[in-house]
């Protein structure tokens, strides 16, 4: 009896907790990522209250932050910076890197290339557990004396190196560094695994030129991560030395709190080079999976092949490569050699070309399609809009001469939120609605999905479109309030409007949360291939089985985009269907 219970419990633990099955790990990443997203969103709503109604008292601020950080319901300036920093860190790293790549790389790579699991199930499991531990430490850092890291998500030293400079640079910063180190380990474990799996475990017939674009995007993303995260690790390590062991890699000639520090010869600009060598590829680590996911969903729901498959692959590769030689566009006004600024303007603007190709190809895919507006499709179309609307302001910011006056203003905040924040969030939702049947065997509720989509897109543009104008008026970001600068007084109303839209958007996310939970338990059961899609994941049974396919692995005969092919009975031809005599494989010519 005892032995039996023991056995049963162990299988529960290995199945649901320390699982090595990629499908379970993907769900673990998803749920953790969503919890982090909720936290990150809550933080932004809290500081938006301060920005919208500067200096006014809100019970809810006091409720969440207590008397220490929101005495009388008014946000403390240090806590404002802390919240902004945590919000940025959580959104970029934990939601849109860990959450997005973690979920969809794990779910889709084995299923769409026809593999039984990841190359190393154990490493994959570790990758999740490192991610969870990193998340917990990051959240825990909010509660320490002195508050969490507050130097911005870019943690530029000396601010991040000196506890005298800001309270958050004490224990809070230490925990930030520990958490990020573990996070980097997680993403390396995951990334190496994804690369090895895609390269080695494709099923028979799955040539690289037959891979769905999701896999191409996830593969290049993993390569970017593996090449760039170690550099962030090195940067963080040197920062740890400066903070704790008296070195001065980043510190020089400092006088603070009435005392000169014994540091010389370091360079704060060095940190910025190291940070952005990761930081820029990082934004593509966020956006490439988003573009992959939307390619897949747009093709399926337009009932049309993705337009220019080869060009899409080439542009993913080009973006991936270029993303490594543009980092200093974040540093035009640091006082670095202006000749460098010229070179980085050139390389940065080059990225606009493959990005434009992608945008045009999406449009042509939709053109003369037969569009089916599932909630996933709505979000994918929303992504095309945000990607273009936010991308074009990047052309302005890439110009070193123009960045002089726009750097670190709200124009930048508007730009990156739309092009990367909103696009990637839209893709994450699109992916969840689309692959929910694969994860949970149920369909998400469509009506609630519509409500969620419209609230989200209205919120997104309502929050970020007006911020361009603040930026053009010269309003700096990371300002707790504008009282010292009456020149921004005419924007009080606009700041209020922005905050109201932020609250609308936030409410929309509760509709999603509800739908997500409701559908897991009460949702309609899905059929095996609910969206009539070509890719391999829909040839697996609805009930998860270990090893994905109960019998032999499927064999692939064609690319993933034979939708509405002339001569076929149905408007889709799964990749497992052999080519008819005389038929050509469209991806390969």
């Amino acid at each position: 009896m005892g032995a039996h219970t023991h056995h049963h419990q162990e299988s529960f633990i290995t199945k649901y907790v320390f699982s090595q099955d990629h499908k379970m790990i993907s769900k673990q990443f998803l749920v953790t990522g969503l919890v982090m997203a909720l936290v990150g969103m809550l933080m932004s709503t809290l500081f938006r209250l301060q920005l919208g109604w500067q200096g006014e008292s809100f019970k809810i601020l006091n409720f969440f932050l207590g008397d220490k950080w929101a005495p009388d319901g008014v946000l403390d300036p240090n806590m404002y910076l802390a919240l902004v920093t945590m919000h940025g860190t959580i959104m970029v790293f934990f939601v849109l890197t860990g959450g997005l790549s973690g979920t969809f790389a794990n779910l889709l790579i084995p299923l769409q290339i026809g593999a039984r699991d990841m190359a190393s199930g154990f490493m994959n499991m570790l990758s999740y557990w490192f991610f969870l531990v990193a998340s917990i430490i990051m959240i825990a850092s909010v509660f320490v004396q002195g508050g969490p890291a507050s130097a911005g998500w870019t943690i530029y030293p000396p601010l991040s190196a000196l506890p005298q400079a800001i309270p958050g640079s004490g224990l809070g910063m230490t925990l930030w560094l520990i958490s990020m180190t573990i996070f980097i380990a997680s993403s390396l474990l995951g990334g190496l695994n994804y690369i090895v799996t895609v390269v080695n475990l494709r099923t028979i017939g799955m040539k690289m030129t037959r891979l769905p674009l999701t896999i191409w995007a996830l593969l290049v993303t993993a390569i970017l991560g593996v090449l760039s995260f170690p550099v962030l690790f090195a940067a963080a390590l040197l920062l740890v030395f400066d903070r704790s062991f008296g070195t001065s890699f980043y510190l020089s000639d400092i006088f603070i709190n009435g005392a000169a520090l014994d540091v010389s010869g370091g360079s704060p600009v060095l940190f910025q080079h190291l940070f952005w060598f990761l930081g820029h590829p990082e934004v593509y680590i966020v956006i490439l999976p988003a573009l992959g996911i939307s390619s897949e969903i747009i093709a399926t729901n337009s009932r049309k092949p993705i337009f220019g498959y080869r060009a899409m692959i080439l542009s993913i590769l080009a973006i991936g490569f270029l993303s490594f030689i543009v980092w200093a566009h974040h540093m035009f006004v640091t006082g670095m050699n202006p000749f460098l600024g010229s070179v980085f303007t050139f390389t940065t603007l080059l990225i606009a070309i493959p990005s434009a190709v992608k945008a045009f190809n999406y449009l042509t895919t939709i053109y003369k399609g037969k569009l089916n507006f599932t909630p996933a499709m709505l979000f994918a179309i929303g992504l095309v809009s945000t990607f273009v609307s936010g991308g074009i302001t990047g052309i302005i910011l890439a110009d070193a001469a123009l960045d002089i006056n726009l750097h670190d203003t709200y124009f930048v905040v508007a730009h990156f939120h739309i092009v990367m924040g909103m696009s990637a969030v839209f893709a994450m939702f699109a992916g969840i609605y689309h692959w929910f049947p694969k994860m949970y065997g149920k369909l998400m509720n469509r009506k609630l999905g519509y409500v969620h989509f419209w609230l989200t897109i209205v919120g997104a543009f309502g929050v970020f479109l007006p911020q361009h104008f603040l930026g053009l008026a010269g309003a700096p970001r990371r300002y707790y309030e504008n009282t010292a600068f009456p020149m921004f007084d005419d924007f009080v109303e606009l700041n209020e409007i922005v905050s109201i839209f932020a609250i609308i958007g936030a409410i929309g996310q509760f509709v999603f949360m509800f739908n997500f939970l409701y559908s897991i338990f009460r949702g309609q059961r899905s059929s095996q291939n609910p969206w009539k899609s070509n890719t391999l994941e829909w040839t697996t049974p609805v009930e998860h089985v270990h090893g994905n396919w109960p019998g032999a692995l499927p064999t692939v005969h064609r690319w993933a985009y034979d939708y509405s092919k002339p001569g076929a009975d149905e408007d889709f031809i799964p990749q497992t269907v052999p080519l008819a005599p005389g038929e050509q494989d469209e991806g390969n010519h």
Binding site: K304, P338, V357, F373, Y480, S527
Partner: protein, 416 residues
Amino acid sequence: MITFLTYSVIILAIVSMVYLARIADLTRDLKGGNEADVPQSENKQSALGFIIFMVGLFASYIWLIQEYMPMTLPQAASEHGAKIDGLMNINLIVVNIVFVVINILLFVFAFKYESSKREKADFYPHNNTLELIWTIIPSIFLAVIITWGLYVWSGIHQIKVDSTLWIAGLGLLITGAAIIGLLKNLVAEIRVTVGGSLMLFGAFFCSYFFIAKNSINTEVSEEPLVIELYARQFDWTARYAGADQKLGAAHVRYIDGANTVGINTEDKAGLDDQIVRNEFHIPKGKPVRFVIRSQDVIHSAYMPHFRAQVNAVPGMPTSMSFTPTITTQEMRADEKTRKKYEKINKIREKRGEEPIEFNYVLLCNKICGATHYNMKMDIVVDTPEDYQKWLSEQKTLTEVLGPSEEAQQEENIAQL
């Protein structure tokens, strides 16, 4: 009461979501069929939704432009700033065209090709000509923007280039061409990508040589006025060079009492330096060179009206230069500024605050700690005469510190 209302609203919201979900599920049960298929009616609604959204988006955008474009920065008050504005305007025009056109295409396609209106989708996997066209058109536009942008940028910084640059560029061009033309046993894709990138960079360096050369200002301009801007948590100080036109040597280790910016008092050049707070003046029409220092963390000296910004980095003095072209008085009379400040003062009146007048400002634009948002200095652009008058009223370091002990002793001896 409020609490009660809040909870009721939350409960109501949840209940209505449950019902919405239930009803949707039930109707599907009744209808049967593939439960994942989107019914035509819903597709039509979403298609219409996109059009309504698009109209709303553009309407709000137009409203924003009308209401808030007049509230953005007035015309640039510096020589190079005018060039930046010209570049910005052309960029804004193009960017807005792309924004409008692409969003219209997207949402109209979404409306037009919605499922219920179509028998079957076209099978249209690719078209090389089309793809080539929309690679080349953005490329041409970008080439123009890059050239123009770099011309302005290198003009601002007076970037000096020598002939090694175009020689290197030529080298890259030839190497790239050789890779494409000669290494026949490499795969075509690799040959073209590697060779092509080298040629691209070669072309860039060659053309950059001419861009930078042409942007250099060859007229012998007068010596710039040098002003130091000194940043610390959380204020700015400006230092003028004094009668000798030379800033005295300084380092944080000399910071002591009233000598807040750490001037080395042994350096005679520093004794006549003038230190000002809260507000500093610059003369119209004279080139000014700012040297920027920080004593603690990174700050950023941002003067939006002059289109000027550079970080203040501890241990690494940075610099920027510009020539102011509009005095504070003139800018106050500027049409755009007047309108903006009328609106501001109306808002301030409603809040019971004093009316204010336009002032140029220096802001801190790099997160630097708790009251980063308070770190400012007003800037006054004077006519050269007013400027001289103002300057002569500012105290020198010696006046601020009082005579040093040695000087005191010397004086005592002399009196004996």
